[in-house]
Amino acid sequence: MLSTYLIVKIVIILVLFLVTLGMAAYSTYGERKVAAFLQDRLGPNRAGPFGLLQPLADGVKMFMKEEIIPNTSDKAIFILGPSIFMVTALLTSAVIPWGPDIHIDGQAYPLQVADINIALLYLFGIVSLGVYGIMLGGWASNNKYSLLGAVRASSQMISYELAMGLSIVGILMYTGSLSLRDIVAQQQGFHWNVFYQPVGFVIFLICAFAEANRAPFDLAECETELIGGFHTEYSSMKLGLFLFAEYIHMFVSSAVIACLFFGGYDFPFIDKLGLSPNVFAVVGVVILFAKIIFFIFFFMWVRWTIPRFRYDQLMKLGWQILIPLGLANIFITGGWLTLKNYLNW
């Protein structure tokens, strides 16, 4: 029994790893294609049909490029930076429930790497470590633009983590669990949290943008001001890691949004179809991925539409608007729950 369990877990981890990388790779392609289409351009269309092999070509290009480490940089940290960024980005996907349980030999296996009871806290812990990658990378480059980018990124991520935490507290109060699995399970049957926590959702969405360093919060790399921000001095695969990690971040953020607010693998009336458990699981995974892809597209769509904030405006938005809003959300949720308890609904 244990061995099947282990095998299933390992398979899930491997598949998840590959899927994450694949999603990130095709997000780069998608980003370019979406940007191009939104801008009346064609986008990549040379490598393969419709340019579908473009991520491969990009990868090859990244690997073949000359590796440049600035002479004045702190070499160990210079290499450490993108690595940390990549690892933390990958780690977050461990706690996301990718679908309903799969049944093998009458035994249910959750499609999840680890169902820990403090999954949300774990997410926060890992996300807060992502700052190190950017900060160290930016600092070690020994370039003023990189440093400015690093400073911007770190203060931005720390500030928005706060608001993000507050936005989730509402959900916690509502669901009473820190486990993503429980949270998703509670939303089955179209009881999506987004209907009960709309404010929390908006705050979380904005913070997800900020945490993933996406426009309009891409101040850290802000090509017109800081040239490349923290990755100005990076080249070759180390740059690739930074860029890749950003897309992984986006993928995971989308997954978390889908799980927290959009019922994860739930879809209206899917539970009424009476599908067999394994088909149900597959359909659930597909549904979750559809949601994720929609949110990735949404990320891109927003990025290619609006201007970015200025540093002080960003801070102001985070501290003066989102955090009070998050607090208010907690208050209202708490009041509502108390009322509900009181009236025994």
């Binding site: 191009a36 289409f37 009346d40 064609l42 769509w301 927003v302 539409t305």
Partner: protein, 181 residues
């Protein structure tokens, strides 16, 4: 503010309304913008697949030069030096030579350019040489000068500039229409 200088003054800054509350919430502009951008998702794309599809040049496009021959295949250029004089970039070098008997099929007039070089690195494609030419000899065409690795490759001599006798370059469209007197 400063005194008005003309009656055509129109203040555009004061004309802007204050942002409404909704607009201050960022959302309407963002949503409107997103509507616009999503609308473009399905529009016809304007970029061309370059090497396969090429954009149409105008009839007067100022690209690579050509030294014309007349209808008998003799070179029009008479090495008068007008083009070199008119060239603001000093890109043209000409050495003149006398036509020898028996070369009438090669050169139209008694004098011809033994050496005619245009340095394509200096050339700014302004078209003044074409305008200065009194002999219907030099024209800019819609061909494009390719890139090379070496500077000396950009110095085009007569071997490149003079049109191939079997493969004429058509410049009739860029010639001035004949004025009715």
């Amino acid at each position: 503010m400063y005194r008005s200088l003309t009656a055509k003054r129109k203040n555009v800054s004061a004309g802007q309304r204050e942002l409404t509350f909704m607009e201050r919430m960022y959302l309407p502009a963002i949503l409107k913008g997103m509507k616009i951008t999503i609308g473009h998702l399905f529009k016809k794309k304007v970029s061309l697949n370059y090497p396969e599809v090429k954009r149409e040049f105008s009839d007067f496009y100022r690209g690579m030069h050509v030294l014309k021959r007349d209808e008998n295949g003799a070179e029009n250029c008479t090495a008068c030096g007008m083009c070199a004089l008119a060239c603001p970039a000093e890109a043209i070098t000409i050495d003149a030579a006398e036509r020898k008997p028996g070369e009438e099929h090669l050169y139209r007039e008694e004098k011809y350019a033994a050496k005619y070089e245009i340095n394509m690195l200096r050339c700014i494609y302004c078209g003044l040489c074409e305008e200065a030419c009194p002999k219907d000899a030099i024209y800019l065409t819609e061909r494009i000068v390719p890139a090379y690795y070496k500077r000396k490759d950009f110095i085009y001599g007569k071997d490149i500039l003079v049109e191939d006798i079997n493969n004429r370059v058509d410049i009739t469209k860029r010639k001035q229409p004949i004025k009715k007197a």
